[in-house]
Amino acid sequence: MRIRTRFAAFAACLALPFTAAQAVELEVTHWWTSGGEAAAVAEFAKAFNATGNKWVDGAIAGSGGTARPIMISRITGGDPMAATQFNHGRQAEELVEAGLMRDLTAEAKAGNWANLVHPKSLLDACTLDGKIYCVPVNIHSWQWIWLSHKAFKDAGIAVPTNWDEFVAAGPALEKAGKIPLAMGQQSWQSSGAFNVLMVSIAGPDIYSRVYKDKDAELAAGPEVAKVFKAADDARRLAAKSKVQDWNQATNMVITGQAGGQIMGDWAQGEFQVANQVAGKDYTCLPGLGVNEVISTGGDAFYFPKLDDAAKTKAQGQLASLMMTKEVQVNFNLKKGSLPVRGDVDLASANDCMKKGLGILAKGNIVADVNQLMSPDSLGQVNDLFVEFFNNPSITKEDAQKQFADIVEDAD
């Protein structure tokens, strides 16, 4: 017994340095936990493990809002993970400025990212003072509405082709016992839906004048009032939708309990997991069928500075790997998002993704709100719209006034 324990201890001592030298473990944190998302992130893990290193999955359940504070406090508190997801834009801006993130310029040069990444704004969002600090991995766009064919068939009407038809179809859907618009009650979903209405109803020009140039006068004006009118319609149609998470709301569309949902293209992963076919079981309308424009937000990976040389090397490998053609295709097909490389062939992409790729190729793109406004201002927008969508006593005129105030003080 005693000898055996000693032997085991001895063996453990021997084994430890060897395994450490062979496989470098990198902990990667992210908030991808729904079915489609988990399948996509497994593609990264598979590819990284194939290089002889080890991907240690640090998924944080909840949503970005829950996960980001945990990530940030770990980085600022001196216990950084090896790599972490953020939405690229201004969320990690101060961490980069404080010198807590690793410079990836060398990997970017070696991989020729500057010429590969399309649209270029994605890489610009990762760049500070000419140095590159993150790897964009996908393009996500918010501007989609997902419509359930079953719900419209049950109600005996045709599937709408734009927002106005959808609003007009509301009463018929309600008569058939359906909830016209499914919407989760978390604040990012309410404000997200509003931003979609802004791009689609008011058009990309007004969108960027409000969010980028912070034109408060315009935000209080008649063009934006039309958007608030649409938001008011959306609030009425979604009044009976009592779910929290976005994927629960998507599930209502998949099962035909709800007519549609305004949600980003990540919802597509859920349709895919449920084995639904675009065009047959569900329809997607980019830009709500009004203005076919998509925003190019998305996810990026940042690599905090580490002391360990072996881990730092493995970080570089992971960063380069995420940009390779094969990984980009595998990952994005599962995730339902668009690849960041302009040169990959997505022959196996479905209808909706092809629509997105087409719009991307035409260049009908706008920057994502995360790239235009600080998290602080966006937080105020979130608070406003989650209140607006849940409290019918706030009039659309009131909400517009408050919105204009936020835009005026925004940075």
Binding site: S73, T76, E93, Q185, D383, E387, F389, N390, N391, D409
Partner: protein, 297 residues
């Protein structure tokens, strides 16, 4: 008294004083020091990381013009007053009932204290289900035949805070009951006998004799309840997430969200300074009366 004796006073109980040093340092550095640090940075425009760039009272002006903060304060006042009254009332009533030398007192006491063993997160989730109209109380009563019965506080912005209150009371009252029971048991039996000889009714004995004698227990309970009220956070997060809309937001959640989610430390610090100030306004006069007056007696 000779002058040489004074230093001796300092060295008396030396080991006890040395033993107290770590705690004194902890209190000074962590409680006082960090509070001052927070107040200091609430006058800056720190975003994700603290920066010394003063903006005067801007953060406070913004705080008090933010709808969400005002709703949070209103909720805290409602939640606070109701929790205080109902915890003490229900806690004392249960304790007085248990005091009637009933059978299986231990069992009842355990059952009533049991919710306290659960965290606020679990409490919140349990009551989220109980109050859910599709699964909980509303469904059960409707199945009994009352088709029009409606009870869904968590989905009604006007009364959602009372839904949170029910869960909070369910969790916390057991502890107050135990404290009260201990207090009641601490009253000398001779007093009961004397009251009985004088022919005073039982309820009158409780209200006019026992309760005034239990003053220290009430003060302990009050402090425990009050500290629970100010920091209420996890219950709301688990049960409603601040919703519907922002109808059940509380100040502690505002602080957390602004400091970590919205990356605006200055605003979060300003809000937490206001919370500190509120507590100070309540505690200082009370502490003055409670501890200050004793010296004169």
């Amino acid at each position: 008294m000779s002058a040489g004796k004074r230093p001796v006073q300092l060295w008396r109980n030396l080991s006890a004083k040395i033993a107290a040093i770590p705690m004194i340092l902890t209190a000074l550095v962590i409680f006082v020091g960090c509070s001052l640090w927070t107040v200091f940075y609430s006058f800056t425009n720190s975003k994700l990381l603290p920066k010394v760039k003063f903006v005067g009272l801007n953060q406070y002006e913004r705080l008090w013009s933010t709808n969400r903060w005002l709703i949070s304060i209103e909720n805290l006042v409602i939640y606070g007053i109701c929790t205080l009254i109902f915890s003490l009332l229900i806690g004392f009533l249960l304790a007085a009932l248990l005091d009637q030398k009933i059978r299986f007192e231990n069992t009842f006491r355990s059952i009533l204290l049991y919710p306290f063993a659960l965290s606020f997160i679990v409490t919140g989730l349990v009551w989220q289900w109980v109050l859910n109209p599709q699964f909980g109380i509303q469904k059960i009563i409707r199945d009994l035949g009352f088709e029009n019965f409606a009870f869904d506080p968590l989905y009604n912005p006007d009364i959602v805070i009372y839904g949170v209150l029910i869960a909070g009371l369910w969790q916390g009252t057991g502890l107050i009951m135990c404290l009260m029971l201990a207090g009641i048991r601490g009253i000398d039996q001779e007093i009961w006998k004397a009251a009985r000889i004088d022919g005073i009714q039982t309820w009158k004995t409780y209200v006019f004799i026992v309760i005034p004698m239990m003053r220290p227990v009430f003060i302990t309970s009050l402090v425990i309840i009050a500290s629970g009220i100010v920091r209420v956070y996890d219950l709301v997060v688990a049960q409603t997430g601040g919703g519907p809309g922002i109808a059940s937001e509380v100040p502690a959640k505002y602080v957390y969200d602004y400091m970590f989610q919205n990356q605006n430390l200055g605003q979060g610090f300003a809000a937490s300074t206001m919370m500190l100030l509120t507590v100070a306004i309540v505690i200082v006069p009370w502490a003055y009366l409670e501890f200050g007056s004793k010296k004169h007696v």
